[in-house]
Subunit: 93 residues, 4 copies
């Protein structure tokens, strides 16, 4: 079981809404909608995607990272490093 399993339905609901936003963007492009209106929708989808990531990351830290830290040792260090690298990728994406 992953750290986010308890909230799986909520995560899926978010991702399906983001998928709907991306399909909405395709319709806008097909219908030659105004660029700025498309960019506004992109920013909304991007914001939703990052919110999903931040929520997943918080649960990962509260479960996987906290459990590893409680046990200590090399596994704890590895989990911290792994989470830090994921945060850096998110900040830089």
């Amino acid at each position: 079981m992953a750290g986010y399993t308890a909230d799986r339905q909520e995560h899926l609901r978010r991702l399906r809404r983001i998928e709907g936003q991306i399909r909405g963007l395709q319709r806008m492009v097909e219908e030659d909608k105004y660029c700025i209106d498309i960019l506004t929708q992109v920013s909304a989808a991007d914001h939703a995607l990052r919110s999903f990531a931040l929520s997943l990351l918080e649960q990962h830290m509260a479960h996987c990272v906290a459990d590893a830290a409680a046990k200590g040792g090399a596994e704890a260090d590895a989990k911290i490093k792994e989470a830090s690298d994921a945060i850096a990728r998110l900040v830089r994406s």
Copy 2:
């Protein structure tokens, strides 16, 4: 015709690939995949979405903004302001 119309097929291809990435994320959540692997995929989708936005923005500036600037006046000022606001939303999303 919007400023990006000439590249419509390329934009649609990008957006369909991003839609595929979002559906891939749903499968990962359904299959209890490891949080960090999901976050890596989120960063990839986020990067692709921002690249789409930057490409659209460049075409908007090269067509709509440049045309308005060539005519000058209040319309030019409004287009510049509108593009700047879209850039700010993108930087902050």
Copy 3:
């Protein structure tokens, strides 16, 4: 004269405030302040730095890019491309 010259004093005032924030961060590190409080200050300085960039970019577009677009030709295309590249660097930094 650059596109931002009319607002030079306002830009300098912003940059001096950001410099003060960076020096404040040095004091916090020297005094072993709590990491989270330092990170909050980093986010504030980062936000201020990006706001400065967005303000400068808007003035650049309203002056340099608009003037080049009004003249048209290769110079206009080059200015649009250059601004788009600067926006991409900002979005990705």
Copy 4:
């Protein structure tokens, strides 16, 4: 002692370099340098500031968060929540 104390000199060195970059930006504005060159420097300073934050955050997680997680209970939950909020502020700044 904060989690980053062992690397305090390295952190101070980074922050002083960023301070130098901000002062360099002031000189560029005073000398009417080209907007795009200033924006390139802003992106470099912004990147350095975010790298400092990511480094501090990793040490915070490896020390303060890991220690709290090892003890468990409400304190552990609070530290995880606090770190998650700091990450969200950084991603959104």
